[in-house]
Assembly symmetry: C2
């Protein structure tokens, strides 16, 4: 009954179909052209709908990407909230929020699937790099108050620490890292991530020496 | 002429065939049983040869694994030489040697292929975790002079920083990290890796604060 009702004429099924068509077209467009070159207009054309409908359903190109590859939307909100509040705590906040996304398998799996594809296909690697740069590294770097190249390198080294932890903790499940508490990891990694952002990582050993 | 000579009776072809048989058997054994449970005896049995021949061709179980999955042998030598010399320079040495392995595509590809498989198959992840623990993390941790669990966590966080850099630099090719010189990365990452090994990472922000 429910099924036949849902499949009858009317808007709900049309909506579902059109959303699915748009996401399928978006996945092809992003894979073929990369994130930077793909456009909402091109996605709409490939899906046979008006660009306004793509914006209506999903929002910006970045939002379409997030929906198409099932990238956790929380991962984006992390960066937006990262630089609100005490700037000396950016490192700890990033570690806590990053691990927060990965602690849930349902959010973790699409990211790992994307990373797996990126390791096998150059085109997916390009798409993911462009997206990560536009959505995560660029916005984070813009808060650092240093030239772009320096800011991006700092942000990349900070994010590299977290991606590596994700690989060892959630993919390889290396112990004791896999069982360590989030608080423990915030304690050990927060200052490292902070030092990368501050550009003080290269001075650590001098400062830490007795 | 060369081919028919090589295929004629005599030892060279037998050697090549038997080595290939042993490696094929090893890949099956490691995949089925994991690194810890697999044995040279079991690999020899599966290949229909004497265990002594496996040792003769390859050496230890670890050596068989390295050959079977094409893990770069250099990666193992890194850890062996890491703690020779100034202990305050372990971080810098590890960063330089680790990047040295990855700078060559011919050495990089098998590791990335293995990592890709590990992300898709639980059994490969288990095999790789057990091998990395036995061959890299365990030996490194044993030099730190602190309890095993603490030492392993430190080693894992240090290696996580490097694995993340490898992902962003060699797989996603994020700029400016992908084009940064090895010297620049040694300068920025050496002290971080050192701080993880020293267990001082959690104090960095206090020390670095003006």
């Amino acid at each position: 009954m429910t099924v036949s009702a849902a499949r009858g004429p009317g808007r709900p099924t049309d909506d579902v179909d059109r959303r699915a068509d748009i996401l399928a077209a978006a996945r092809r467009e992003f894979a073929d052209r990369g994130f930077d070159q793909a456009s909402v207009r091109g996605i709409a054309r490939a899906a046979g709908v008006d660009p306004a409908l793509v914006h209506h359903y999903f929002g910006s190109k970045q939002d379409v990407f997030v929906a198409a590859v099932q990238f956790p939307a929380d991962a984006l909100r992390i960066v937006q909230g990262l630089f609100d509040g005490d700037l000396a705590e950016v490192g700890s906040r990033l570690v806590r929020h990053f691990l927060g996304v990965y602690e849930h398998a349902v959010q973790r799996e699409p990211v790992l699937a994307l990373l797996r594809s990126a390791m096998g296909q150059e085109s997916v690697a390009t798409m993911m790099r462009e997206f990560v740069t536009a959505a995560l590294i660029g916005p984070a770097a813009s808060h650092l108050g240093v030239p772009q190249a320096e800011a991006r390198l700092r942000a990349e080294l900070a994010i590299a620490q977290l991606i590596g932890v994700a690989m060892l903790r959630y993919v390889l499940k290396a112990e004791p890292l896999a069982s360590a508490s989030v608080d423990e990891l915030v304690r050990r990694l927060g200052p490292v991530v902070q030092a990368h952002f501050d550009g003080t990582a290269s001075h650590i050993s001098h400062l830490a020496a007795p």
